[in-house]
């Protein structure tokens, strides 16, 4: 599904390397988790994969199902099936949540040469999915993320993911700021989407989320590299001992 090789990324504006050779391979249907200290480059990886401006790829490649991602426009990557649940979802004043999503869904369908969803069909689908995430009609009408609480914003990201049905989902700290019940809702939403044709990359600081969304592989990122990969037990080790030992190992 996703194949990242020797990815080196710096900032466009200043001379600073952030990713210093990331290798990561995620098979179809797999769930991978990335943990790592603050500032290690986790969000940067997600931005570079999705095509945000301001970063310069100095070496390496990233393929989604055999297609080179790094040469595509952000919307082409989206249409190819890449989705990023943002660590900090963006507010768009005056644009209804529902309008936003319908525009997005239809833009992707168009790009893939599929028919657009009619207003009626769209409404039916979104109502059902919103209900599962306990997002009420009012939140669907309100402007995108404006005045949403932290947890509401994160649930809204999952709703967008559910509507867009991407192939490769990157979740950047979707668990941060969620209360216990919301965490269950979100995990349930993610688990409901798990299938053989869809993969996940879950960035998190907490083992707790991984109790709900069972990862196949856990990676530890530090200082722009993946320093260790292992099974779910790796997350437990971090939870109990922190990063000191792991960092010492590679030093």
């Amino acid at each position: 599904m996703l194949d990242i090789k020797n990815l080196h990324v710096g900032l466009e504006e200043e001379d600073k390397q952030i990713l210093k050779g990331v290798d990561l391979k995620i098979g179809a249907g797999e769930v991978h988790a990335i943990m790592g200290p603050n500032g290690s480059g986790k969000s940067t990886l997600s931005y570079v994969l999705s095509g945000k401006d301001g970063y310069e790829v100095t070496d390496g490649s990233a393929e989604l199902n055999g297609e080179e991602l790094l040469e595509m426009e952000p919307e082409e990557r989206a249409a190819a099936g890449l989705f990023l649940a943002f660590q900090y979802p963006v507010e768009i004043p005056g644009v209804g949540n529902m309008t936003f999503l319908r525009t997005a869904v239809n833009a992707q369908r168009k790009a893939r040469g599929e028919d657009e969803l009619s207003a009626g069909e769209f409404l039916k689908v979104i109502r059902a999915k919103a209900k599962d995430l306990e997002i009420d009609a009012d939140m669907l009408k309100r402007p995108v993320n404006v005045g949403f609480s932290g947890g509401e914003k994160k649930r809204n990201e999952i709703l967008q993911m559910a509507m867009l049905e991407p192939k490769m989902c990157i979740l950047d700290e979707t668990d941060s700021g969620l209360d216990v019940d919301a965490m269950k809702l979100v995990s349930h939403g993610v688990n409901a989407l798990r299938d053989a044709g869809r993969s996940f990359l879950v960035i998190t600081h907490y083992q707790r989320l991984l109790d709900h969304i069972k990862p196949d592989v856990v990676h530890i990122m530090a200082n722009g590299r993946i320093i260790k990969s292992g099974g779910p037990e790796l997350a437990l080790e971090v939870e109990n001992n922190g990063y000191a030992d792991l960092l010492a190992e590679v030093a």
Binding site: S50, G51, K52, D53, E73, P74, E75, R77, A78, A79, F83, L84, F86, P89, V90, E91, I92, P93, G94, V95, G96, M98, T99, F100, L101, R102, T103, A104, V105, N106, A107, Q108, A111, E116, A119, G120, L123, A137, L140, K141, P143, Q160, L164
Partner: protein, 505 residues
């Protein structure tokens, strides 16, 4: 979810389709090849007389025009606005151009040159029901025929036909061209013409008073709600021709009307002049909603061509508890100079002004409003959204004046500017005068830029850059789009998208 919210929520599929379809070009830029009947170029007393004669006007009207012309000769073009354009040679303009086939005015739409009708069909007139229905959530709840809109179409200098005349007549509503009104309803025209915008008001209004060739006239009798929306479409077709139309709307006591005005012009590399006057008279307990979507040709990317739009629009809330609401979406013209105003004369009268002004490339817009509070307990509200892209300059100029007698009056002004790119400008120039101590004026102004994070968020969800900008900008304009009648709201959203084409990247 109600029908209205979804349409007006922000951008919808129509917008996106419109952008794709148009592919950067001005959509209304074709011209119609019709044999025209011109008056000789330039303006003098003979031209004024000729226009009057073409319209078969009575002597009092000819005299009124000549009086205006005499004043105009002594006046100077104003230069205080923040717009910059080459000196206009008023003798190099045609003041009268009419399709030949209109020499004898048609009795009904059936008599109109089919080419003209084709032109209007291209412009989407009458507004198609399918437009109401397309892509609108809950469309199944709308009655199949949709809403009726009566249309008066003005082609260059003359009105070419008004629809639904009979049905309106039944309700006692008069909706016709102003030239017809001068002949058929002289008592109303004599009483109200020039009573809101006097002949001597300003340079362009005075010129208009002398040479206006046609326009629309509306009279709503007491205690009548006009049974349908009324609409005028203006089209400048002939080259080097000025369009000077005059609109007069009278809402008698306790009546209501919603009036829509749309404008387009062909693409030409010479500038064309448009100097209209709109007068609204609102008596006790009456209400007028006046909406404009102005999409005159703005000129090309290098600022060549385009319409000079110098318009005087004013509403006189003469009666107690009278109400007026101006809503405008200004995307066109090379230079716009326009300040729809409200004179709140009657006690408890209300004026509202909602505006979206978009300036792209080298367009210049100097627009705003005047709220003149004369009566007690009068209220006004101004919501202005200015969007600048390319190298455009957008100025909001607003006067709020509370006179000594206007006790306990209120004004609220919200003035937001949005910049796309860093070569454009936005300016806000409020003038506030309060001459009594029980009135209150509130003014809020913001300037923001289209945010890269917002655009990236939209693009990550699959929208291309132009769709993303259109969506964010439509969100910024939402309060004003919501104030428009539904048919216009959709058209306006599409226009917002089209007029910002090529503004990013």
């Amino acid at each position: 979810m109600s029908l209205d919210t979804e349409v007006k929520d922000g951008v919808d599929q129509e917008t996106v389709d419109a952008v794709r379809e148009v592919g950067g070009a001005y959509k209304y830029g074709w011209e119609t090849e019709i044999e025209m009947d011109y008056a000789p170029i330039g303006v003098n007393e003979d031209i004024v007389r000729l226009i009057s004669e073409k319209n078969k006007e009575p002597q009092w009207m000819t005299d009124w025009r000549l009086e205006a012309f005499a004043r105009w000769k002594l006046m100077k073009e104003p230069d205080w606005a923040m717009v910059d354009y080459p000196q206009i040679d008023f003798q190099e303009i045609y003041y009268y151009a009419a399709p030949k086939s209109m020499a004898d005015k048609p009795k009904s739409l059936d008599d109109v040159d089919p080419k003209l009708l084709e032109t209007y069909k291209k412009l989407g007139i009458p507004l198609k029901e399918q437009m109401i229905l397309a892509g609108v959530e809950g469309a199944e709840d709308i009655p199949a025929e949709g809403r009726k809109v009566a249309v008066d179409a003005v082609f260059d200098s003359v009105s070419v036909g008004t629809t639904f005349q009979e049905e309106l007549k039944k309700a006692g509503v008069i909706f016709c061209s102003i030239s017809e009104a001068i002949q058929e309803h002289p008592e109303l025209v004599k009483k109200y013409l020039g009573s809101v915008v006097p002949q001597s008001d300003n340079f362009y209004a005075t010129l208009n008073s002398a040479v206006f060739s046609d326009g629309s006239f509306v009279y709503i009798p007491p205690n009548t709600k006009c049974p349908m929306e009324l609409s005028t479409y203006f089209r400048i077709n002939a080259e080097n021709t000025g369009q000077f139309e005059r609109t007069l709307i009278i809402a008698d006591e306790g009546s209501y009307v919603s009036y829509l005005e749309g404008c387009t012009a062909p693409m030409r590399d010479t500038n064309q002049l448009h100097a209209a006057v709109v007068e609204l008279v609102i008596l006790d307990d009456a209400e007028i909603k006046y909406s404009t979507v102005q999409n005159w040709y703005p000129g090309d990317e290098d600022g060549k061509g385009g319409i000079y739009n110098f318009v005087t629009k004013r509403a006189d809330c003469r009666g107690k508890r009278s109400k007026v609401m101006w809503t405008q979406v200004e995307t066109g013209s090379a230079v716009t100079w326009k300040y729809p105003s409200c004179i709140l004369r009657g006690d408890d009268s209300q004026g509202e002004f909602y505006s979206i002004a978009i300036a792209n490339n080298l367009q210049q817009a100097d627009t705003g409003t005047k709220m003149v509070h004369l009566g007690k307990n009068t209220k006004s509200r101004i919501v202005s959204k200015g969007i600048s892209a390319g190298k455009a300059q957008n100025t909001y100029r607003g006067l709020v004046s509370m006179h000594p007698r206007a006790k306990d009056s209120r004004n609220y002004t919200q003035c937001d500017s949005l910049l796309i790119g860093d070569k454009c400008g936005a300016h806000t120039v409020p003038y506030i005068e309060v001459k009594n101590n029980s009135s209150r004026v509130e003014h809020e102004a913001t300037t923001s830029k289209v945010d890269d994070d917002q655009l990236f968020y939209c693009r990550q969800r699959g929208m291309d850059e132009e769709e993303a900008v259109a969506l964010v900008v439509n969100g910024f304009c939402k309060e004003v789009l919501q104030a428009l009648p539904m048919e216009f709201a959709m058209e306006a959203q599409a226009l917002v998208a089209i007029s910002l084409e090529g503004s990013v990247g």
